[in-house]
């Protein structure tokens, strides 16, 4: 792959990336989340179209417009979220797309034979009659690998394959991959952010940072420290100015919190920490290590299976979002379009979401009951006008649908709405991801301002510079647990980099 470039509306995900793969090698692509690893591989697999650059296979320039082209070229990909069809058996899933036939019919007997052979060759055992939804994550992954091999893959792309596995399963996977590559015909591309894994399994490692290749090196020539440095970089983007603020009361406390993700896997495995007024508590970690579920539980969108949440000393475990809002919890979600705004409604209407039923936006009109009934358009108008100005939201009119705003302005809108509710605790989930530098700075400044006012802030981010620069204390999460809690000024970026990738 030469000079691969892929642009999305607000970011360049891959910026002239060069990558090459030799036959029979295991080649890791290492990088933080958002470094462009998955984008690069999705291009190779035909899921994204490249904007610039070229791909050569065996020296021949090829054009890959759809997964079918990639499969025909012998490229197989195992995605982070599995792509198995729930209604079909494991056998049918494996042969999907390259079904053996006898006459017009499926030749399931032949398929059965061939898959068992493949499985024995690479030590991958699965129950072919089972339904994939009944299998464990590791079982599903084996099915995916067999599927790719059955489709004739000469190149196996594994996207963060260990994130869903238990330790012993991880060992098993590593062995199988070495087995596969060991025969010398099949190469493996191993995408990961975990340094020890990359070192353990790879022949060579390519490090990506912010969409660019840092270097491609032989795994034998480096140690984890070098890798960590290359992966997170040394460039500090903004000054750390941490005025001491008065630590206030303990506002949020979580104790032994556990929860399951949507697929029923326990991804949050007993997390405890506290956030005080006047501090920013950073949560550092690569996504998929339980942060999503943690946030969901705190804002009331997911039930905790064990553990407690206390707000201001009172038990707030598994309350509804309404109740938690009333207790003073504010939330800036990562998925702005999906959770943050109502794209088709106007900016004005989005700004009052959540406070719409309170004075002065709502009044009881001519009705005798105290419940708020009617929306006071003038108040809403004035209010929205003021917020749009105060938060620099760039729009020709407050009547425009929120969905038309750019990412930065959308985030400012959400910030404006959450701040104006005067929350005691603000949960900011990757508040600057995907934004331009100007908006990033604006949002960070506003968050710091809230801290200085004595509010509690929980900042979740994958950007280590941001976590280090913003937080007072940092909680480090790895595989659903808190592995460390540190004072921000007493730790270096490299050290955090090693902790979030499971090195320490």
């Amino acid at each position: 792959m030469r000079g691969i470039t892929k642009r999305f509306p607000e970011v360049v995900a891959n910026d002239h990336v060069d990558f090459d793969l030799r036959r029979g090698e295991i080649h890791s692509i290492l990088g933080e989340n958002g470094a462009g690893k998955t984008t690069l591989m999705n291009i190779l697999y035909g899921l994204y179209r490249l904007d610039e650059g070229e791909i050569r296979v065996n020296g021949q320039r090829v054009s890959i417009g759809a997964p079918k082209d990639a499969i025909d070229l012998g490229i197989g990909m195992i995605h982070q979220s599995f792509t198995l069809v729930a209604g079909l058996t494991v056998l049918d899933n494996i042969i999907l797309g390259r079904e053996p036939t006898r006459g017009p019919f499926l030749d399931r007997e032949r398929a059965d034979r061939e898959i068992i052979e493949l499985g024995e060759r690479f030590k991958l055992k699965v129950d072919l009659e089972a339904r994939p939804e009944r299998l464990s994550a590791s079982g599903k992954q084996k099915v995916e690998i067999l599927k790719a091999l059955y489709q004739g893959a000469k190149v196996l792309i594994m996207d963060e394959p260990t994130s869903v596995l238990l330790p012993q399963e991880k060992e098993e996977l590593m062995r199988a991959l070495k087995e596969i590559a060991g025969e010398g015909f099949i190469s493996v591309i191993f995408i990961t952010h975990k340094l020890p894994e990359a070192l353990e399994i790879s022949d060579r490692i390519t490090i990506l940072r912010r969409g660019r290749v840092v270097d491609t090196i032989n795994a034998g020539d480096v140690d984890v420290k070098d890798l960590a440095r290359m992966m997170v970089g040394r460039d500090v983007l903004f000054d750390i100015e941490r005025a001491e603020s008065e630590k206030g009361e303990r506002f949020l406390e979580v104790e032994g919190l556990e929860a399951f993700d949507d697929t029923g896997v326990r991804t949050l495995k007993g997390v405890s920490f506290e956030v005080r007024g006047g501090e920013i508590l950073g949560i550092a970690g690569v996504s998929g290590n339980g942060q999503e579920e943690l946030i969901d539980v705190i804002v009331g969108l997911r039930k905790a299976s064990a553990g407690k949440v206390f707000i201001n000393g009172g038990d707030a475990t598994n309350l509804s979002p309404q109740d938690l809002r009333a207790l003073g919890v504010g939330y800036i979600p990562e998925d702005r379009m999906g959770r943050g705004v109502m794209p088709e409604l106007s900016i004005k209407e989005n700004l009052i979401l959540g406070t719409h039923s309170q004075k002065p936006f709502a009044n009881r009109g001519p009705l005798p009951f105290e419940n708020m009934w009617f929306t006071d358009q003038n108040h809403v108008y004035e209010y929205a006008k003021r917020l749009v100005e105060e938060y620099n939201i760039d729009t020709p009119s407050i009547e425009k649908p929120a969905g038309k705003l750019s990412g930065g302005n959308l985030q400012k809108l959400i910030l404006a709405r959450e701040f104006s509710r005067d929350p005691q605790l603000l949960i900011a989930d990757k508040p600057t991801s995907g934004l331009d530098i100007g908006s990033q700075e604006f949002i960070r400044r506003k968050l710091r301002g809230k801290r200085d006012e004595g509010k509690a802030i929980l900042l979740i981010s994958e950007d280590l510079d941001e976590v280090l620069g913003m937080s007072d204390r940092i909680v480090i999460m790895y595989e659903g647990r808190v592995v460390n809690v540190v004072q921000a000024e007493r730790i270096s970026k490299e050290e955090i980099g090693e902790m979030i990738t499971g090195l320490r």
Binding site: P9, A13, G36, R325, R339
Partner: protein, 340 residues
């Protein structure tokens, strides 16, 4: 993509022209003559204008009902059934309760609102609680309502009307008065409902919450709105308003329940709400457009052109309104692309 939208619009436009040309050729009627008759019978005289408005009334009320649900993000396809339920309740109230006339009318309206509302809310409850597809349930509910009506007019409520499948007439005192025949006072109720629906959706807390739930359930939930409750409530209102249309058809138009009383208005209202872009204030216009097509094509029957043309034309309008949206939606999808 945008280009293919235009191609398809073109193909449909050509097809429509071809149909009209074919019609005039095969029947030997001048296109101009068709057009003149069409206009004359819908807006050509006071009588025809009144008739068109009368036709628009139930369509307008059902449109308002449906767009409450559509704003709440629920596909209420059950307008037909809810109209029928409203009609049944109204006939029952007027025939059997023996109430003094004004009370009978008020109670009929209230009863049909409530009954049809609950009928609709049933589907919403299933959707909110267990994510059961509401398109299917509301559509099936239509047939259940038809069957109940058919059963009543075939047997229990069919006294002495002989072989015709219909009920006895409701007492004259319980009928709505005419503003000017054939336009009855249901028309005024419909206009009041336009204002009420507009205020509900755009000026009240409840309406705001309905629209918030419809626009982005997850955002609404995250920000403290009880979306399950809202889903049920919006269908309660939606079904209730459609029920009023059914009640009006009994009280002001037919004075009895009979087969096909819902006149496909519940289905036409889907098109109407869609054309109005789910906005209450545009509903009178879209309903009028549908009523014009309905009445206009009805007049063409005299020339041997069957009334089915009405449905075909509504279908065409439907698709013509739909297509430019294809271009717009696609643009939004592309904008919301994100990295990784």
């Amino acid at each position: 993509m945008v280009r293919s939208a235009f191609y398809i619009t073109g193909i449909i436009a050509l097809t429509v022209s071809a149909i009209f040309l074919l019609t005039s050729l095969s029947l030997g009627i001048d296109l101009v003559e068709i057009f003149a008759l069409f206009l004359g019978s819908t807006v050509g005289s006071l009588d025809s204008i009144l008739q068109t408005l009368a036709r628009a009334t139930p369509i307008l009320i059902s449109t308002l009902g449906l767009l409450v649900a559509f704003n709440g993000g629920i596909w209420n396809i059950g307008g037909e059934g809810q109209i029928v339920v409203g009609a049944i309740v109204t006939v029952g109230t007027c025939l059997f309760l023996g109430l003094p006339p004004p009370l009978a009318i008020v109670l009929s309206l209230a009863g049909s609102f409530l009954a049809s509302g609950i009928y609709g809310a049933f589907a919403a409850f299933l959707k909110a609680r267990w994510d059961v597809n509401e398109v299917v349930i509301t559509m099936m509910q239509n047939f259940v309502a038809f069957a109940i009506l058919q059963y009543l007019i075939d047997g229990p409520w069919n006294w002495g009307v002989g072989l015709y499948p219909r009920t006895t007439m409701i007492p004259p005192e319980t009928r709505l008065s005419f503003i000017m025949s054939p336009l009855n006072s249901m028309f005024l109720i419909a206009l009041a409902l336009v204002a009420a629906t507009y205020i509900l959706l755009n000026r009240t807390v409840l309406g705001y919450e309905i629209r918030a739930t419809g626009a982005n359930k997850m955002a609404a939930l995250t920000n403290g709105i009880d979306t399950e409750r809202l889903t049920v409530l919006s269908m309660l209102l939606s079904g209730g308003i459609c029920g009023l249309a059914g009640s009006g058809l009994v009280l002001g138009t037919f004075f009895r329940a009979q087969a096909g009383i819902s006149g496909n208005y519940g289905f036409y209202a889907i098109a109407s709400a869609f054309i109005a872009g789910n906005r209450a204030l545009l509903a009178p216009l879209s309903s009028l457009l549908i009523a014009l097509i309905y009445e206009g094509t009805l007049s063409l029957v005299a020339l041997g052109i069957p009334h089915r043309l009405s449905e075909a034309m509504v279908g065409i309008v439907f698709l013509v309104v739909l297509l430019p949206k294809a271009a717009g939606w696609l643009r939004e999808v592309n904008e919301s692309d994100a990295a990784d």
